[in-house]
């Protein structure tokens, strides 16, 4: 792939990120989470904002997969096919969410957007690192969240949007699974690939630390971004298994989420499942 030069990057709060992709003029692109309109409830405007942001995230994911196809023409053909199929899935997700957004009275460009995933993944100059960060980390995390979203929209009295979340999740499992399979296969052929995986995840850790909101930082609609914890997030064990994370990997995620005592036998899948339930 082409080397990433100084003109390809931007600096946000001292953190180097890839410059934003092109956007239609209807979109307002912002650089920090505090400039987004994340509401603290499930009001009508909040529902539209959630769908709008989700729609834009799917757009980014399509662009990331497409850029992988373009940047790594020498990747194995079957892997390139998987990435191309992912483009199709993500474009369909974008359309589905856009349609639902319009059904709820929203419009494209109604809220600010941010190209966070793009900014991180496009700094990485190896396909292994991009798959590790985008598919194996961002989209695996999305699997955890989509399962929650289904219940959240149902609880808010919107079973139609809840059903969409379930449908999207089915595709995301496949995106994580192909990355897991290929990273293992590529590492079997060339163990140096693992250094690229490690470098990718370390890059994400640095960016995450650098962009963490400051104490009592308030977003554009008055929500305090540090007045809550993220500790209640739990792994979606069932779908992580379908995506072919090993039992040890799932146990490690659970340990990081605070279930260490329950998964002390790292390979004990039964314990891991029990912790998640």
């Amino acid at each position: 792939m082409r080397l990433i030069g100084p003109d390809d990057v931007k600096i946000v709060r001292g953190v180097v990120l890839r410059r934003d992709p092109a956007r239609e003029t209807c979109f307002t692109v912002v650089q920090l989470h505090k400039d987004l309109h994340d509401y603290a409830d499930m009001s009508d405007v909040s529902r539209r904002q959630r769908l709008h942001r989700h729609m834009h995230n799917e757009m980014q994911t399509m662009e990331i997969a497409a850029q992988n196809v373009a940047d790594f023409p020498d990747a194995p053909w079957e892997l390139r096919m998987q990435m191309a199929r992912q483009c199709w899935d993500e474009s369909r997700h974008t359309q589905i969410l856009y349609r639902r957004l319009r059904e709820l009275g929203g419009r494209k460009g109604e809220f600010p957007v941010m190209n966070y995933e793009w900014g991180v993944t496009q700094l990485l100059d190896s396909l292994a690192a991009r798959l590790a960060v985008q598919n194996r980390t961002f989209e695996a995390g999305e699997m955890d969240l989509l399962r929650r979203q289904e219940g959240m929209w149902n609880d808010a009295g919107d079973p139609t949007t809840a059903a969409l979340m379930d449908a999207l999740l089915a595709d995301e499992v496949q995106h994580v699974r192909y990355a897991n399979r290929w990273l293992k296969e590529l590492a079997r052929q060339n163990p140096r690939i693992l250094l690229q995986v490690a470098a990718g995840v370390q890059c994400l850790r640095r960016v995450t630390a650098g962009l963490a909101p400051r104490h009592d930082e308030v977003n554009a609609v008055g929500v305090n971004l540090t007045a809550f914890t993220h500790g209640d997030v739990v792994a979606n064990i069932e779908d992580r298994r379908l995506a072919e994370f090993t039992q040890d990997e799932i146990a490690e995620i659970l340990r990081q989420e605070g279930f260490g005592a329950l998964v002390s036998g790292a390979a004990d899948g039964a314990a891991a499942t029990a912790a998640a339930r």
Binding site: L32, H33, L36, D38, Y39, A40, R50, L51, R53, H54, N57, Y116, A132, R136, T137, F138, A140, G141, E142, D144, L145, R148, Q149, M152, D155, A156, L183, A187, R188, P191, L194, V197, A198, V201, Q202, L204, R205, V207, T208, G210, L211, A212, P213, N219, V223, L225, A227, F228, T229, H230, G231, D232, V233, A235, T246, E249, E252, I253, Q256, E257
Partner: protein, 57 residues
């Protein structure tokens, strides 16, 4: 010189770098991040959150 010696004495003893051999599966296991860790940068995936932008209760 004496001050330098005193300073050196108060520093922790030098420890040699350690190398931990890891196989493929151990590396893949170690280099993972949870959704909560990703969200520490803000509200990475706010549509998944209820209650407040990233609260899951």
């Amino acid at each position: 010189m004496d001050a330098m010696k005193d300073g050196a004495a108060s520093r922790p003893k030098y420890e040699s770098p350690k190398i931990t051999p890891m196989d493929r599966d151990e590396v893949l296991k170690a280099f993972q991040m949870t959704a909560a860790q990703i969200s520490a940068a803000g509200c990475w995936w706010a549509p998944g959150c209820a209650g407040s932008p990233c609260r899951f209760d």
